[in-house]
Every structure is written in structure tokens, then in C-alpha cells.
Amino acid sequence: MHLPIEAYRKKVRKRTRILAFLLTVWVIGIFFRLVDLQVFLHAGFKTQVAKQNQDRTKILPDRGTIYDRNGKILARSIPVPSLFYSPPAEESFELQMKTIRRLEETLGLSAKDVEKIKARLQKKSSFAWLKRKVDAATAERIIALGLNGVFSREEPKRFYPQAKLAAHVLGGVDIDDQGQSGIELAYDAVLRGKEGEVLILRDVKRREYYSEVLVEPQSGKDITLTIDENIQYIAQRELEKAVLENRADWATAIVSRPDSGEILAMASCPGFDPNAYPPSSEEEVNRATRYNYEPGSTFKIVTASAALENHAVSLNDIFDCSEGLIAVAGSPIRDHKRFGLLTFPEAVVYSSNVGMIQVGQRLDPDAFYRTIRNFGFGRRTGLDLPAEEAGRLMPPEKWSRRSLPALSIGYEISATAIQILQAINVIANRGLLIGPKIVSAVEGSTVSGPKKAEPPRRVISEKTANTLIKILEQVIIEGTGQAARINGYTAAGKTGTTQKIDPQLKRYSSFKHIASFVGFVPVERPAISVIVVLDDPQKADHYGGQVAAPVFREISSQVLRYLRVSPQKDLMKAALMANPGREGDR
């Protein structure tokens, strides 16, 4: 039986309305869900997606290269593989740790390293370093194992091709290539550059299918030092030889160009290999700039300068040194022998303590102090190396009765080797102080370049300097520094032997010394100045003239030959005539 047409239409309309209503509800539902997903839950889902298929990774910049003055590479960063673990999400923690344990032996992971990785995995971290900066062969071997989640990525590693050469000047970097000492630290901001960022898109299997550099990394700037690798090598080799021969605790030597203040070599012994940074704290100390010591007789250069400059002495003045000692504030200060009567130049040439104390006693304390300060003592030289020591110099108002005599012979003042070298450079430069410098150029930059050198400053008159040069020349010809004589060249210098304070007895020891020699060569137009300091030489000979002066001679003669500074014809012939046996000595 059929419904009447009107009833049928009514039924259809009703059904249509119900269907329309349901569809509307459904559409409204979808609409609200869409709003919920696209508006309210948008950020959360976006993060989730990004986490799943995007990686934002830092791009480490290339650290600048350090060159010597001739463009030889002293330090450079090169890419090496680093191994890391990106735990597969489908693997259990136990399975992940099993992978790590498999690598433990091959990679030489310590228990501490494994604990670190374990802690990261427990925190559900998606990244953990296995071993950073390994050699290419090890990385290849590990990757070839095909372990799930083990990957390799390249990172820059600092490489010092000359190993120990100039290690104290260069310093070193940590695992993140951040400067820790030496030039690496002093110029870290310049060398380091700026990190970049790369966006990597990965597929469901974490394979990289797209990458885009978001922030371009900026490479660090290259630095050129004033150091000459050949001169550095000579200085370092001779210094190491001297330390062994004399059984010294440590030693330092610096070679500079007096007219520019450029440091050509700066060596300290014991040394270290910056490729295996960090060394022990004992090895890391740059003794040339970071060790203060009482300079002893090398400081008599300053006393003599002050006396001449202030007209406290004349060259013909005689000093009575016949007793071999002089009483200072109730206690005696001795010479190593009785000299008799000495003129002022002789007191310097033979390094008489008694004579130089009498010279010092003629000086006004304020004038003496001013001269010492003008020579740059008691403040840093401003060399571009970190942690330079300023030395210790008390103002006259704090001096005791003993201070002036003690200062006259280089005690009650502490200085670094670089400060003593700066002082001899004043003499070599005929009275002008030109500060030392070790960085000659920073790539393409004048803003972050080496520190601006102070203009030359006059410390003593040219006349005083010339007089002193003649006296210091005699030190090498007939005085305490004869072992520093270099055949064919005129040289000027001063020996120093300092008694060290015995920390247990708290007084000057008769057995512990610092032997030193400082000088320049040739006298007429100084090409180089050199200082050599040896701590506590254990051989019977412990005087600066016996221990340090020969090292000065060895370094200087080789450096002069390398720099092609010709000897003076007459001096050379005289030397060869006086020593004909050496001709056949091959």
C-alpha cells in the first residue's frame, strides 16, 4: 500500500531536515575542530613537527690561522670527525646502552664518559657526544660498524704543526676551540669568528633531505706574529740544551729587534706541546712574562744610567772595593772577590756589588726611583700576552735604610725577563724606550688589530746611553761577560747572578741562584737583543757569566748568521788568527 503523495513528501522533508541538521552539526564540529587545531593547538603541533623533522644546528666558524712573520703556519684549525649518538626512538634504553658499551673499548671511553652519555639518554636527549675530534681512521671504523644511531660530524680542531715551537707564545685551546692561554687567549675574540646556524629537514627515518643556512658563520681573522720560526727554533734548542747541561729548574730566553721592539723569539723551558693541551701548570707558565725575579746585577744597567744621567758620578771616579764587602744597615753585602780600587766603569764591567752600592748611595732616592720607573719597571710592558706580571717596585717613602743599596745591585725589586730586555733595548736605542710587541698584523682589520704601540719615549740622553754602551762592551771584552763574546761582532751586555730566597730559612740562599745575561749585538747598529735566564743551575758554575752568557753567544751567533748580518772584517780576521786551530776543527 502506498502512502498518499502528500504524506510521502512530508516524510522526505522531515528526513531531509534531519539530515541537514546532522550535516550542519558535523560541519560545525569540523569547523570548531579545525579552529582548535589551527589556532589553539597550532604552536604545540608546530613544535612537535619541528622536533620530529627539523634540526637547527650551530655551524662552528673557522678559527683564524696564526702565522709567524714569514707566513709560516704556527696554528691552524682543520676539520676532523667527531662521533655522536642520536638514540633511535624505537629502541629501548637498555638497547641504546648496549650500543654505547660496544663502543666503550674501541673509542677508549672512560667510566665518566659513559656515565655522561647515560645521563643524557636517561633525560631522553636526542644527542650525545661519543668522542670528539677523533682521527679519520677511527671514525671510519666506527661508522663502518653500522650501529643504529651512531653518526659522525666534522668539527674544527686546532693543529700546531711545529708542536712545541713557541708553545708559550701561542698558548692553547680547549675542546670547543676557545683560547685558554697565550695569543689564543689574548686574541680569542678575533681568532674565533662568529657561529652560524643551519636548518636541516629530515624525513621519517631521520635522513637529511634539505638544509638551509639561516645564519652564515663568520670565519675568525688570521694573525701574524713578529716571531720568526727559525729564530724561535734556535732560541728554544739552545735553551733546552743549557737547561740539560746546567741541570737548571727552568729557563727563558727572548730575542728582539731593539729598533722596533719586535719579539723574534720567546722561549721557556720546560715546554709543552699545545696539540695535547692542557699541559701541567708548571709547564704552561711563560717564564718570560709571568715570572718575577730579583734581577741582580743585570739591573746595574739602570743604576749606572741613573748615576750618569743625574751627574752623580764621572767616569774617573774611584770606588774603594778593596775590602770585598760593604756594610749596609748593619749587615754586609759582599763581592765574589776583593777588587781593590775600581773606577765607575770598572765597577760595572766587573759587576762589583761594593762599587755599585757606593754609586747608588750618591743618588737621590726620588731621582733613582724616577729613572727606574722610566725604564718601565713596576708596570707591565703592554705586550699582547695574557697575565703579564708587572713586577714589584716600592716607592721611596716605603724604602728602608737597606733599600737604596739593595736596589743599586738589583735586589728589593722584582722584574720579568721582558722588562729587563726592554731596559737593555733603551740602551741599544740610544736612550729611547720602544715597547715590545709580538703581534704584527690582524687580517683585514685596523679596529681589532694589535694594540697600538706607544710612540718611542726618551728615558736617558743619547750621551748617557753611548757612554753606557762603551762600558757594557767592556763587560764582554774583559769583564764578567767574556763568555758572551761572538767572533767578528761587537756586543754589549751585562751578567747577573741573583741569590734566591730560601723559603724555609726565609733568607737569601748561598746555594740557589738565578743566572742571567742580557745584551745586544752588534753595538754600532743593534740587530738583535737577547736575554737568557736560568733558574737554579746545579753545576758548580752558577754565575750568569758562566751559565747564561754562553747561551747568549750561541743564540746570537746563529741568529746573526740567519739574519745575514755580516761580521766586521777586522774583528773576524783577528778572531780567526787568534784561534787558528778551529779552522781544521770540522
Binding site: R76, I78, F159, P161, L165, E229, R561, S566, L576, R586
Partner: protein, 95 residues
Amino acid sequence: MVHKKYTKKEIAVGVLASLGTIVILTFYLWHITENIRLGYEIGRSENSLQTLREEVKKLEAEKAALLSLDRIEKIAKERLGLAEPKEDQVIYEDF
């Protein structure tokens, strides 16, 4: 139902237009894929340039290590039997 009958000319224009569209679309697709292919190639070349640059840097550092002075001295003395010149063995040009 009545169908409009196209003239031969209209059919030819239609075919040509279709062919033209196909050609343009094909060219466009070729252009796009070629762009992508070249993009990949540029990417590969840039990577290879970077790798070569790094290789040069590495080799320069390696060369510096091989020419390190203590190594040279060791070879000169131990393998070649050379020694430091004595004072009288050095002749200066301006003498």
C-alpha cells in the same frame, strides 16, 4: 540534441592551442626540474669546493708539520750526516 559543427580552421586552431599549451607546460616543467637539478649540482659543487678548500688547508698544515724545523734537523743530522757549519766555513758575500 544539436551539436555545433566546427570548421577545419577552428579544429586546427584548437589543436595548435592545445599543442602550444602542452609545449609551454612541458617547457615550464622542464625549466622547473632543470632548475632543481642545477640547484642540486650547484649545491654539490659548493660542497666539493668547500671540501677541497678544507683539504688544501689540511695539506698546508701537513706540509708545515713535515717541514717542522726539529724534523728537518733530525733528518739532516741523522739520515744525511750533515752538521752545523763551523765559524770559518761560513763565507760572507760582502767580505
